[in-house]
Symmetry: C2
Subunit: 194 residues, 2 copies
DNA sequence: GCTGTAGCGGACCGTCGGTCCGTTTCTCTC
DNA sequence: GAGAGAAACGGACCGACGGTCCGCTACAGC
């Protein structure tokens, strides 16, 4: 059974309304009634579509992260660049994605019981672990990948920018240097400073 | 005016009850009525003492973190060890504290609007930044300190242990190697692998 | 003991996530 | 185009929970 036309229309309206509200007010200030009202539908419709609050935020994050996920998948599949380069590329592109959709990704991190910066994120995480292992076989690649990802959590980025007052540019530079440092072979005298 | 005897008794009872409930069930499953009932006091008493939910969790975190804060303050003041050694010592001791009180620190991170793994944490954070600057003048010490702390968030540790299935010992080793790596001078050929 | 006041407790309130079910609307078939 | 059946709708409703209020209690100072 294909999705009914009105159902599809409502789905889009709800996603758009929720996205706008969360961007404007932050997840904690947005309740499901607000979303329903802003979308011009009944509350029951929101829950019918998305199950619960978590489902709605997850659907939003999935939608917002689609472009980045495609890009990242391409990076992982691209054999023409070194593993180290690909790690840096993944980190910087994820950073851009997180910065651009900060309130949403933050909402997702807060609300979901799953981890990761995005839904459907696991294959990319696993790819990153694999790259880390290629760069330095014998290291704890999983721990290292997670250490990098910890610096890319929306909550962490938000903390650096809002609470520590770092400009986004400075955080970007730090993230890239950190990624470079994590994939620089320890014996490499040209390892950039973090 | 000194705190009245019954008030002090109730304060302790509430803290103990809340601590136990959060440890047993996690912060999300514990409501304020439960805490009041478990402490054998009225709900109003809980709110009178601690203001709100956040205040209660903050008081708990403050109490639980007291020992570690004292230790860390001592480490910062100890001039007989190198900056690099002190960074590693701070990281490993904080890791132990976080592991030992995981549910509580996690609750604190979730509930509070402040950041940091603990209340009264800022001076130690600042000391860590200072140490990073000593180790490598010219680096972005604040970013580097935060990068280390990001790996010591209760949520991150919980993620590694519970979701990734890493034994605590493995995470501990990773954290220590990461700290060592962050304070190893880039030109140092003996830098340990992360 | 008496008294003033800090403290107590639990009924009460508003909000919000989630459910339910009578009504509406779409789509498929003839 | 009309009728039937299913899918979707919507908002009244419910239970849980954080937080408040205020009449009552009991501690501490005299």
């Amino acid at each position: 059974m294909v999705e009914r036309a009105d159902a599809a229309r409502n789905r889009e309206a709800i996603l758009a309304a929720a996205m706008r509200l969360i961007r404007e007010q932050g997840i904690d200030a947005v309740c499901m009634d607000d979303v329903a009202a802003a979308a011009g539908v009944g509350k029951g419709t929101v829950f019918r579509r998305f199950g619960d609050r978590e489902g709605l935020v997850e659907a939003l994050a999935l939608q917002a992260g689609e472009g980045w996920r495609d890009f990242a998948t391409g990076v992982l599949a691209d054999g023409s660049t070194s593993a180290a380069e690909r790690v840096v590329l993944l980190a910087s592109s994820l950073f851009e994605h997180v910065v651009e959709t900060l309130p949403l990704v933050r909402a997702f991190e807060r609300v979901t019981s799953k981890r990761g910066c995005d839904s459907g994120f696991e294959p990319i995480r696993d790819g990153l672990v694999e790259l880390m292992a290629q760069v330095d076989p014998g290291c704890d690649a999983e721990f290292r990948a997670e250490a990098l990802l910890a610096n890319l959590r929306a909550e962490h980025v938000h903390h650096l920018v809002e609470r520590c007052g770092m400009p986004v540019e400075r955080v970007r530079a730090g993230v890239i240097r950190l990624a470079e440092g994590l994939v620089a072979a320890p014996w490499d005298a040209t390892m950039p400073k973090l």
